[in-house]
Amino acid sequence: MDSYPMWIVRYTNVILVCWFLCVSLGLGLWVVKPTFDQYVGRLIEERQLMIETSRAQALREEMNRLKAKLSEFKSAILPLDAMTLANQFNQRGDVMQVKASVDRWTFHVDVTGQPNPFDFYGLLGQVSGLLIETIEFQSADQRTTVRLSLRPEKAVRWHIYASQPVNTPAGLQFGQIAECPSPVLKAQFGDRLLVEMGSSQIQHIQAGDWIDGDWRLLAYRERRFIFKNSLGRTCVQKSL
């Protein structure tokens, strides 16, 4: 009788419930949970695989779009260095001097005889990453030169197609008015004069004719030439 304690009778229900819970917990943790975790892991993996697959597709589409954009940009925007820019300037004049340092590019270009020296502005309007500090036109001794002082920034680029061109002024003429001409009269045939200009350059002129780019003959009176320049000033020169 004493080999079976009394508490078994008293707590039978409690024992059974506890046993049920312990066995459930034990089997759950030992058998079911690892398998369930493995199954959930596989489901998560599959889900992630789907997400990664769609991500890969989206990335590829984005990559193709970007590649197309880059290809478009790369064909229209080129890296620019001082020598390439000098070559561009050389198409609009004679580059006489190029100085290129890390923080400054200087160009000296002869634009004598160029139809529009202001074309440099249009050219520089196609450049990015280059701070234009000074553009200096000088006209002396029948030569016109441009000195450009530019400050390169991190990346200097040449844009082949400018979206909006720079409107350059036209009709502005460079160059100093020449001195009053001093021709030597060789002969006179009525209104027509045979004159020697400078060193043995003989030409026929009459009133109204341009002697050179600056002066034209107004009249010849009393052995004196009367000239008028393109600015409207007149001069009287005694025939030598």
Binding site: T35, Y121, G125, G129
Partner: protein, 163 residues
């Protein structure tokens, strides 16, 4: 007097055996449930192929692609910004050239020099007559720095700045 000791001992033994039987029964029941669940889950797991390696590989390639995309995107943005800067540059140059527009109203003139910097443009020019300067349309402010009445032309130095 009635002796119930023997009866009580038998009752406790019966209850003990009953309890053990139920414990075994519960264990077997729960074991079979656990086994069924395990079999079912194993079957489900077998239906799902192991894609860990593939997932890892795909993730690595995606990450590499994403890094490449970031670089490309930054470059595209840099180029787009470059276009913007170039357009600003064009506008600035147009604005600098626009300072010369009043000079176009002067009539006959000869330009001797132009010094164009970011804030102002200084020009030296030859004019036939000083009164031509009155014809300058004052869209933008200008200052006559010097006048040199020459024999064949008046040389004036004018400073033009943005309005």
């Amino acid at each position: 007097m009635l002796n119930l000791t023997h009866w009580r001992g038998a009752l406790i033994r019966q209850r003990y055996l009953w309890c053990v039987r139920w414990c075994v029964f519960l264990t077997l029941s729960l074991g079979s449930v656990a086994l069924s669940a395990w079999v079912m889950l194993s079957s489900l797991i077998q239906d799902l192929p192991n894609q860990t390696e593939e997932l890892k590989r795909l993730r690595q390639s995606n990450d590499a692609l994403a890094d490449e995309l970031v670089t490309d995107r930054e470059f595209v943005m840099e180029l787009a910004q470059s276009i913007e800067i170039q357009e600003q540059q064009t506008a600035q140059l147009s604005s600098r050239l626009a300072r010369l527009h009043p000079v176009g109203h002067l009539g006959s003139l000869r330009l001797l020099s132009i010094v164009d910097d970011r804030s102002k443009t200084t020009i030296r020019l030859q004019l036939g007559d000083l009164s031509q300067l009155h014809q300058m349309v004052s869209d933008s402010p200008f200052v006559v720095r010097s006048i040199d009445p020459g024999v064949h032309a008046v040389v004036a130095e004018v400073e033009l700045s943005d309005g």
